[in-house]
Symmetry: C2
Subunit: 429 residues, 2 copies
Amino acid sequence: MVVTRKPIPVGQAVERVMNVSKKGETEWVPLEQSLHRHLAETIIADHDIPAFDRSPYDGFAIRAEDSIHASKENPLTFHVVDHIGAGSVSEKKIGRYEAVRIMTGAKIPDGADTIVMLELANVISENGNERIELKRPFYSGDNISKKGEDTAEGERLIPAGTVIDSGVIALLATFGYAAVNVVKKPKIGIIATGTELLDISDPLEPGKIRNSNASMIYAQIQEAGGEPLNLGKMADHFDSCYEAVKKAIDKVDFLITTGGVSVGDFDFLPAIYERLGANVLFNKVGMRPGSVTTVAEYKGKLLFGLSGNPSACFVGFELFVKPVIKNWLLSDKPYSLYHQATLSKDFLKANPFTRFVRSSVSSENGKLFVDPVGLDKSSSVISLASTNALLVLPGGTKGYQKGDQVIVLMIKEERGCEWPWDIILSSSK
Amino acid sequence: MVVTRKPIPVGQAVERVMNVSKKGETEWVPLEQSLHRHLAETIIADHDIPAFDRSPYDGFAIRAEDSIHASKENPLTFHVVDHIGAGSVSEKKIGRYEAVRIMTGAKIPDGADTIVMLELANVISENGNERIELKRPFYSGDNISKKGEDTAEGERLIPAGTVIDSGVIALLATFGYAAVNVVKKPKIGIIATGTELLDISDPLEPGKIRNSNASMIYAQIQEAGGEPLNLGKMADHFDSCYEAVKKAIDKVDFLITTGGVSVGDFDFLPAIYERLGANVLFNKVGMRPGSVTTVAEYKGKLLFGLSGNPSACFVGFELFVKPVIKNWLLSDKPYSLYHQATLSKDFLKANPFTRFVRSSVSSENGKLFVDPVGLDKSSSVISLASTNALLVLPGGTKGYQKGDQVIVLMIKEERGCEWPWDIILSSSK
């Protein structure tokens, strides 16, 4: 059976998938286990930071007005009336020509309005009394970290959907989040289809290849923030594949299959979708690699039929599955961040379809450059290990030349972007 | 006790630390658990990819020479003598005007030298026999993925020390690595010191702050590839801190303390290092924030005395601890990747010391721009949640202006770089 398929533009394909994608539920995890998870709620400052006027240095708190006439020729003396360490609070209110010894981070005592750094005070101890001599004036507010200068109570600090990194954790700890409300990871099943597939530990056999897609997708799911479930590999046998897919759907939030989406005798994911009664969103996309990518929706769940070719499978995941995972995780920037970059070498293949070329982006003198890496075939696997970006070459042209300005998708960057496809696909020369 | 300290340039400080840093041992982990680990060995292709000439399409294998006179006016007929699915191998050698039905990925049968795509063959079935009609010629080598075109046996594909991502996993699976030889993670202890520190779940108290550094460093260690061990927080009490540090050293590969490195009464990490008999590598660095960062070496282990100020602590980790972790993990590019970028706004503070400003790097029209984020104080914490880069402003200048070309350290990027400090610190205006 040769099915005629009508390709749709890649932006439209992504839109159809996103239109049926869902948002995840939430759960609480201990702060120590929250790294790389996505915040389920916007973090709002529930108090000022700093929570009180504090000293940024070790030194002495005084009243600035008392120092106004201090100079080398006229050193002024202050009596040290208290010592406070960080975390302690002085009970004393500072009076005229009085000083309180203070530590970095400690609360400024009442009455004081400036801090004299330790290095600038000449300390004199005598008969159990301590005094300091100052040889220059200090001004009100100098060397004081003011209450609320870092953030004010009520500020919206981090939006829901943000991925938690070490910097976010610093804030969460500061605001007392010993546990964090995060989005539950979507559980994503993987079934690799193909009689040609060997297990990874199998020795090579004539005509066969090892099943690299399942392991690759497993890792891509983890990188995107999902929870992968490897449901094994299947030979090209319709009934058993149909049963495996049907059974898998109840166990997962989405299902990814690899292989079985071409137009040949043994390529039957489309047939499985038909027998299930699934709603096929598209079965051909105007893109290379991965034009046969087929996505369906069944019982509210997305079924991703990715190509069995490693590069096509990789690209299909990044374009269609990743934004669905990010949307599930409440990100409002679920698409890969894109940059403009200069093409480092000619890419002269003409193509009616938009190409996504495995590439490496680097910078020189503040400008971004992009280099396609390795063999540009949907079946290639080697280039995937040195890919940090997908170079987008919109179709309908006679190829691209060194120096052309192009769009690159930064697939390894945690920061994403909002709907990018109108801009990406209009970037054609 | 006011200790006089002599600052050393930041590049020299990093060099002193790296000179005593060590490389880790190795272990085997299952491929599925290898994501984000560092390869302990260079991966070399042990066979060609593809391992055999294979078909990139569903179609028919023929001898090209037989099709040379085919045209619309003169369609030529080929008898289909065998069907092979992916993973199967045809026993037949193709003869004159013979064709073998072939699937994507299958091995090209003997005698054939081109593939006719399914869409271009007119298939006729009659009395159990199948033949195809071709209306155009095909050329030898067309539509064949040649043995070794992706990579040849013996190629060095991925160097030891590379962090394993989904693309690397695709290669490892292809070459049969069901288990992977990775570097054991360094175990890194964290002790937060400071009487002012509350637990994260504690309500705020006057003069106190929550211990955000330990959680932040815990996450930074994980991000860099190490295994963190939270050893709790300590009040500013010399004997108990000394005992805690001494006890911790035997349990870890390196030890990080936060706080206790300034010049005040209660800042005694330097004193603890002295009592231990540790070799202090430096106790002052010509940088902001984090000038008081103190690093010592004891029994071959590095003791990092980071500042108690959140931003200074964060920066100290990125500059000094991260490259030590990456070196342990066999990376030959252990330092943060740097780019040149255009400063987006004035930064007019003069400073004798090199500044590392928490910043956000973005691109516009293919050029990189950097924006300092939030409050530029060593005590600030809020900016850490939106930092993706450290802007480096070498000291000795009267400040920087919008439009200046500056260096940025891409601390969130997995790719690193080789020794960067000569270039970074000579980038001054």
